[in-house]
């Protein structure tokens, strides 16, 4: 990326020369006039200069997330959640925000390739035709399709068509981050695979057996919303969350009682929990189990036990059983038929395919998306087997590791470039509509599949539309079609809850603990695999935003690492950035060490998705490839890991190096008990509004302010990347992050410190505080940092000369400086710049301005029809995206505004109030809800 030359090298020398030439000629030569190219025929419904929003959906592993995509003069620029969509309710996670950059990624493949040579669709088509005749004869013997999770009704229809035509063809599924365990667990309990749908808003007690339902599970954005709804101290009662997990997740950080255990120990722990819940509570030695069991017993029908995708089926079955016993089925958890079509076992499905290829039963393999060569289990032998397929067609966005070993590669159209449809975690279907014609000649998946069945003419639009016309039948199909596109959901498509029979009782009595729960050797080191919070399984590796978005629990960017507890690090005598060699079975991998507080002892965690070798200029060569150690039988955790310290170091790019509060009242936190006892518990001496020498500046019609609720914030980082997308914030690259020059306008600080009676992970989103007595403005010599009449501390980029005094004088250090020409260097995001926001040049300061462009747009539209702005009419990017609605923004002059109400709360406090900077951004103290009468710090206690 932006590695600086130690001294003048050729590149910088050229820069230097050109610069001096520019200086020389600058005065005389002038840029030409700006051209304006008019439309020949203007698209209907478009107003020049005004953005349009289109409802569609984005999928991961098949699960759809409804979104609204902003389009400026035909250019998709920003993704917002779709309030009408159950998985979104107007919010998105961090990953969805990155998808817009994926769309514009200049490294996407642009041409059809055959054996590494550029080739044409015609040639491929003729090949398919010739094969087609053979398949006619042998019923598609030797035709195989490998896909991930698929939830597109149209595509499924096409599959049925294909299988009717070629009955002997086979379709295989493989998702590296799959839900095999969930389906197996459901089979064990209900005799058939079912998809659990949780209702966290109805659950008062939640026990998560390593289920990252705030950051990972399908529907996690919706779940986060429901979960946080149940945690408003002002309601004088909060739900309580118990989490046991190996690698700390944001779900664990949100827990009231968190327990760190190796993944392999969780089964036995679950059994103990079951025993304690069904039997005598006091029996168990572990406070965490005692307390959780007691709570569960007291909350029949209002509690919820759920197991994570990483946990074996038995644990899922156990969870179903407990919910059954506690009468939660139908109350806090329901089951629906699988919304996503996938294999009962991705592992077996892939293995079967490999088997067939080995024995030469496969002559044509079509890989729909995905990257099995990179992310299939290392012992599956996919790579070797692939060679035996005479024709292998990779169909995907990127010319990646897999396509390099396929005979053909066909560029796919991005989800935002094509017509399709997709199903959400709860069965709700969305019809996806294209925002723009394929940028790089990509092909819609529907057309690819149609081609296989000999249909080379139908377009994705016709295929999707025809399917739905068929579904709608004759009740105003046109209207319904239009409505679906407008609202972003197909009405009445949400799945009906299956009325299952009671979950089979699995051994739940205390005696069984010994039977199944064979606790592994406590000294044995275990290796856990987890999807990367920003790169997932590696499919987003080339999205610079997601590479540079700090991972919530580690604050690392651009790399993964071997995460371990401090205790293990000391035992291994390693520190951060030491390189160790991990040995699992006979396979080894070198990885840098990164110590993560609250990580289970005697365990290591690797995030999947790094160490790509053919991801593109952005994604290649960052981090280590965890798949190199991931086997079919140990997809989520493997025991018996040997760790060897090598005497080499690897520099990691973290955005935060210090995690102690140093006794400073930066984050205020208390328990619900504290709050009920004294709602003012967060107040401190220093909070009293100190007197000022200066008279208050009179307020204009609006006075903008913001309130951030630390009780709701789960630290997912969606705000950071949403802000990046909205405000044209360039990425700076690993070396610059190391140098301490990341540009995020709103960052999520993470502290590991004692709060509310326990060592806790504390998150604090920090945008600009918009101080009324702004220290930054006082010291700016050129009036580049000044206040506007509505109280926003604005940064006038075109006036800034870059003294950086404002940054020094900002106690919150929210100001960001363009030390180099980051916007120029960041080729990726140039195409999707927000036309409403200035692109900052080198040498100017920048920072959060409450999404000024949105404020102004709102004010102008209100003034235009001569009315006052309504509360909620102006929404900042971070506020809009926040899954838990922790961020509230609005007009402080409006007595009925939401933000006024929030600031009225007794939990309100000012960050560094003693400096009397009078911020317009304030915080609501964090409140947790540990079981009363106990000190939660025992949680980590002996077993």
């Amino acid at each position: 990326m932006l590695d600086l030359p130690p001294i003048v090298d050729r590149r910088s020398f050229m820069k230097l020369m050109s610069a001096s030439i520019a200086l020389a000629g600058g005065a005389c030569t002038r840029a030409p006039l700006e051209p304006i190219v008019p439309y020949a025929r203007q698209p209907e419904g478009m107003v020049q200069g005004e953005p349009l929003f289109f409802a569609t959906a984005l999928t991961r592993g098949g699960y759809a997330h409804g979104v609204l995509v902003e389009s400026n003069m035909g250019r998709p620029t920003k993704i917002e959640g779709n309030p009408a969509h159950p998985a979104s309710l107007g919010s998105t996670g961090p990953l969805e925000q990155g998808r817009i950059l994926e769309l514009w990624d200049p490294d996407r493949s642009r041409v059809i390739q055959h054996l590494g040579q550029i080739d044409s669709w015609e040639n491929l088509a003729s090949l398919i035709r010739s094969r087609g005749q053979r398949w006619q004869a042998d019923g598609g013997e030797g035709l195989r399709i490998l896909a991930g999770g698929v939830s597109s009704p149209t595509l499924l229809a096409q599959w049925r068509l294909l299988l009717e035509k070629y009955p002997r063809a086979r379709i295989h599924h493989y998702e590296p981050v799959n839900r095999d365990n969930v389906y197996a667990g459901a089979r064990a309990s209900f005799g058939r695979p079912l998809e659990p749908v949780y209702h966290f808003d109805r659950a008062r007690v939640i026990v998560s057996l390593e289920a990252d339902f705030l950051g990972g599970l399908p529907g996690h954005v919706r779940y986060a919303r429901d979960f946080s709804r149940g945690r408003r101290p002002e309601a004088r009662s909060m739900n309580r969350l118990y989490v046991v997990e190996c690698m700390p997740s944001i779900t664990g950080a949100a827990a009231d009682h968190r327990l760190a255990r190796r993944s392999s120990e969780i089964h036995s722990l679950a059994l103990r929990l079951a025993a304690a819940t069904t039997g005598p509570v006091s029996a168990d030695a572990l406070p965490w189990v005692r307390s959780a069991a007691a709570d569960l017993q007291q909350h029949h029908g209002a509690s919820l036990v759920l197991a994570g995708d990483e946990q074996p089926p038995e644990v899922h079955a156990l969870a179903h059983h407990l919910n059954e016993v506690l009468g939660n089925r139908g109350a806090t958890v329901d089951f629906i038929a699988l919304p996503v079509t996938t294999a009962q076992s991705n592992r077996d499905s892939l293995a079967q395919l490999v088997e067939d290829m080995r024995h030469g039963r496969v002559d044509t393999l079509l890989i729909l998306g995905g990257n099995p060569l990179y992310d299939s289990p290392v012992d599956a032998g996919f790579a070797e087997a692939l060679r035996s397929a005479s024709v292998s067609i990779h169909f995907g966005l990127h010319h990646n590791e897999t396509s390099r070993h396929c005979t053909w590669h066909v560029p796919a159209a991005h989800e935002l470039e094509t017509w399709s449809d997709a199903t959400a975690y709860d069965g709700t279907v969305t019809i996806q509509q294209p925002l723009i014609a394929p940028l790089y000649g990509g092909r819609p998946v529907h057309e690819m599949l149609a081609a296989l069945t000999g249909d080379f003419d139908s377009t994705a639009h016709s295929l999707v539309r025809n399917y739905w016309m068929g579904v709608f039948g004759n009740q105003q199909p046109e209207e319904r079609w239009a409505n679906c596109l407008r609202s972003g959901v197909v009405s009445e498509s949400t799945a009906r809850y299956e009325n299952t029979q009671a979950a089979k009782a699995v051994v739940g009595d205390a005696g069984a603990t010994a039977a199944v729960g064979t606790v592994p050797d406590p000294k044995e080191i275990e290796l856990a695999f987890r999807p990367d919070p920003t790169l997932w399984d590696g499919r987003y590796a080339n999205v610079a935003w997601l590479q540079e978005l700090p991972k919530p629990m580690t604050q690392l960017t651009w790399d993964n690492a071997a995460f371990m507890s401090d205790a293990l690090a000391q035992q291994l005598q390693v520190t951060n950035e030491d390189v160790v060699e991990l040995e699992v079975g006979n396979r080894t991998l070198r990885a840098p060490v990164w110590v993560v507080p609250h990580h289970a002892e005697h365990a290591l965690t690797l995030y999947l998705g790094s160490g790509r070798t053919a991801a593109g200029p952005v994604g290649t060569g960052h981090g280590v490839n965890a798949f190199a150690l991931r086997t079919q039988n140990a997809p989520w955790f493997a025991g018996g890991v040997k760790v060897r310290k090598l005497n080499e170091r690897y520099r990691l790019a973290t955005v935060q190096s210090h995690h102690r509060l140093e006794g400073r009242p930066i984050i205020r936190a208390g328990t619900l008990a504290d709050y009920l006892h004294d709602p003012q518990f967060a107040r401190q001496e220093s909070d009293r509004r100190a007197a000022s020498l200066y008279p208050d500046v009179p307020r204009a019609e609006y006075a903008w302010g913001m309130s951030i609720d630390l009780a709701s914030c789960i630290g997912c980082g969606a705000c950071t990347i949403a802000c990046q997308a909205e405000n044209n914030i360039p990425t700076v690259g690993k070396s610059e992050v190391i140098a301490g020059r990341e540009l995020h306008w709103i960052r999520v600080d993470r502290y590991e410190d004692a709060a509310a009676g326990a060592q806790r992970t504390l998150f604090q989103p920090v945008p600009c505080m918009q101080c009324e007595h702004a220290p930054c403005e006082l010291v700016c010599p050129v009036e580049a940092s000044v206040h506007d009449a509505e109280g926003i501390n604005v940064q006038v980029y075109n006036r800034c000369v870059g003294t950086r005094f404002c940054s020094n004088n900002c106690p919150y250090k929210v100001r960001r400086f363009n030390f180099l020409s980051y916007s120029k260097e960041d080729a990726q995001s140039a195409a999707l710049h927000n036309p409403e926001v200035t692109v900052r040049m080198r040498g100017v300061m920048e920072k959060c301005n409450y999404c000024l462009q949105r404020v102004v747009r709102g004010r102008i539209s209100a003034d235009r029809d001569d009315r006052a702005l309504r509360d909620g009419e102006v929404v900042t990017a971070c506020q809009a995206v926040c899954p838990t609605q922790a961020i509230v923004f609005g007009d402080l002059n409006d007595p009925h505004s939401e933000v006024r109400a929030a600031k009225g709360s007794s939990r309100t406090y000012t960050l560094l109030g003693e400096l009397n900077t009078r911020p317009r951004t304030t915080y609501l103290a964090r409140v947790v809800n540990p079981a009363t009468g106990r000190d939660p710090s025992e949680d980590g206690g002996e077993r």
């Binding site: 200066y694 009324e772 007595h773 702004a774 403005e777 006082l778 700016c780 009036e783 206040h787 009078r918």
Partner: protein, 179 residues
């Protein structure tokens, strides 16, 4: 040939001082002295009027300071009032440093250039430079010149008088450059 005056050269300051006093005692008024450094008592001996440099300097200082304050007040309060850090528009305490600095600057500039102006400098050509040996005036010699426009000036008489002061040399200083 017209003369600027008659110039006597002396070896040291006291000699010059004595000569100046004596010459003025003779009633000569247009008497000039040239020395390699500022000689104590010479201005008094020549009965020079008080210089007005101090006054000029004072005025320069006042102008600088007042100008500075007006500039700041006008630009911050009248021309483009902007809320900067919630401070009052007329933050006069914050204006003081610039006022002080510009006052000093104004005074210094006025003083220096005032001095030059009052001295009629720069003036690269001057008849006195036509005096033989005058280049020593910047080294170790002291010169006394009775200008020809002095009412009592008379080429012979004055020359005679000056000779009585036993100068190192005595010369007539022509107005035009040496041939």
């Amino acid at each position: 040939m017209s003369w600027y005056g008659i110039t006597a050269e002396f070896g040291h300051a006291e000699a010059l001082l004595d000569a100046v006093r004596a010459t003025r005692g003779q009633g000569y008024r247009r008497v000039e002295a040239y020395t390699p450094f500022s000689v104590e008592g010479l201005p008094e001996a020549l009965d020079l009027p008080p210089d007005r440099v101090a006054l000029v300097t004072l005025l320069g200082g006042i102008a600088g300071g007042a100008g500075a304050f007006f500039l700041q007040w006008y630009s911050a309060v009248i021309d483009y009032p902007i809320n900067s850090g919630g401070r009052p528009l007329n933050s006069w305490p914050a204006f003081i440093p610039a006022v002080f600095e510009l006052a000093v600057l104004g005074a210094a500039l006025a003083g220096f250039f005032g001095m030059l102006a009052l001295n009629g400098l720069p003036r690269l050509r001057h008849p006195i430079f036509n005096t033989p040996d005058f280049h020593l005036a910047s080294r170790n010699r002291f010169f006394l010149c009775v200008r020809s426009d002095d009412p009592l000036f008379d080429l012979e008489k004055t020359e005679a008088w000056l000779r009585t002061l036993s100068p190192v040399t005595l010369a007539r200083t022509p107005v035009g450059a040496k041939p």
